[in-house]
């Protein structure tokens, strides 16, 4: 029964080999889907290319459904799955900062690594910026240490927050995803009709 490494079914020694293999698969899918191009990615904000939404939402839904079924079949112990803890106010601030960075930079960290791999200088500068940003954060950490740990809600799940089961959350996600796929497909058709110069 999974998860395999925390249960000791795969020894810890394999951890980094598996990390590398998983990373390769992750990077391959990101690049092959077109995430090594910043203009592809930012298309989601201007309506000319919703590839980010399609890949992202499909992946979330597939993994969510997968985890629920693995749990149902008894293949995985969901209690041993890491649920990212929620720190309400710092997370809100962090996401807003990342949102601005997303539109300015055109990448997120993972996608910038794949863009570097195919020779994009802008991605190298973006990753350099990441390094600098995390360095600045660390240096000035004492000034906002209290804020950083504020609003701790622990490892609360979406279902727990809204008082519904996570199976229902998954179903709602699927419905929203399908609607989003249809609506954005229509928007994209309309926006692209008016664009003559668009080249990925």
């Amino acid at each position: 029964m999974g998860p395999l490494i925390p249960q000791g079914i795969i020894p810890m020694g394999w951890d980094f080999v598996i990390a590398l293999l998983i990373g390769i698969a992750f990077g391959f899918v990101l690049e092959a889907s077109g995430f090594s191009s910043s203009r592809n990615i930012t298309g989601v904000f201007y309506g000319y290319n919703f590839v980010v939404l399609r890949v992202f939402f499909t992946a979330v839904v597939v993994a969510m459904i997968g985890l629920q079924y693995f749990d149902y079949f008894g293949w995985i112990d969901l209690n041993q799955i890491y649920v990212l803890p929620t720190y309400l106010s710092p997370m809100i601030v962090g996401s807003i900062i990342m949102g601005v960075g997303f539109v300015l930079g055109g990448f997120c960290p993972g996608t910038s690594y794949t863009a570097i791999a195919i020779g994009k200088i802008d991605a190298m500068v973006f990753t350099g910026g990441l390094f600098l940003g995390i360095f600045l954060f660390s240096e000035f950490f004492p000034f906002f240490e209290q804020f950083y740990y504020s609003g701790n809600m622990g490892s609360i799940t979406i279902g727990e927050f809204f008082g519904i089961s996570n199976n229902l959350v998954t179903l709602i996600f699927v419905v929203i995803a399908v609607i989003a796929f249809y609506v954005t497909w229509r928007i994209e058709l309309r926006v692209r009709k008016n664009m003559t110069q668009y080249k990925f």
């Binding site: 998860p3 395999l4 980094f16 990390a19 590398l20 990373g23 698969a25 992750f26 690049e31 092959a32 090594s36 201007y46 919703f50 590839v51 399609r54 890949v55 499909t58 992946a59 597939v62 993994a63 997968g66 985890l67 799955i81 649920v83 990212l84 997370m91 601030v93 996401s95 807003i96 990342m98 949102g99 601005v100 960075g101 539109v103 300015l104 930079g105 055109g106 960290p109 993972g110 794949t114 570097i116 195919i118 020779g119 994009k120 200088i121 802008d122 500068v125 990753t127 910026g129 990441l130 600098l132 940003g133 995390i134 360095f135 660390s138 950083y148 490892s155 609360i156 727990e160 796929f181």
Partner: protein, 178 residues
């Protein structure tokens, strides 16, 4: 005008829904094997801590944020996310090679802006993403994607607010892209 030529020039990407299913399966397998999701910004954090620790070890030890990642028995680079992120790079290389997208060094940008503007925006974007990902406990991979998939409320929050903010500010930066 030359729209047809432009469309022919389009690089060949896999179908986004197929890509999404593959990404979802990679994520599911990652949860099944390791009990945790994917990540990307964590590797840069390890690189920052390692660099500061090498250049100014006392300074790193005194920093309340960095010292948590420093141990005596191994380098902060000896970390799951560092190996995984190195894999992301290799995976990008493999896909890029397979689809013929590895070319000489280049800058991708809107024709309406200069290279300098693009690189400046990319640098600032990176800095903001670096700072934001620390407050957000992860970036698009660790918090938004893996967090949401494991039904974390924080993950959903980061996903919605990150993309939501993107839509709010996109208008002001439209020259960068369209």
């Amino acid at each position: 005008m030359n729209q047809e030529i432009v469309i022919q020039d389009r690089p060949k990407y896999i179908n986004p829904y197929f890509g999404g299913v593959l990404l979802g399966l990679v994520l599911l397998i990652t949860f099944y094997i390791t009990g945790r999701g994917l990540g990307a910004s964590g590797a840069v954090k390890s690189a920052v801590v390692t660099t500061v620790d090498k250049v100014a070890p006392e300074h790193a030890e005194q920093n309340t944020y960095m010292k948590a990642f420093i141990t005596d028995d191994h380098s902060p680079m000896f970390n799951w996310l560092v190996f995984e992120s190195f894999g992301i790079f290799i995976g990008g290389l493999l896909s890029g090679a397979l689809f013929g997208r590895i070319k000489k060094l280049r800058i991708e940008k809107s024709p309406n802006i200069t290279n300098k503007t693009r690189l400046f925006a990319a640098g600032i974007g990176g800095i903001l993403f670096g700072i934001g990902s620390q407050f957000g406990r992860g970036c698009s991979s660790g918090a938004a994607l893996s967090g949401s998939a494991s039904s974390s409320f924080g993950g959903l929050l980061v996903m919605l607010l990150m993309f939501g903010t993107g839509y709010v500010v996109a208008y002001f930066f439209r020259k960068l892209w369209i």
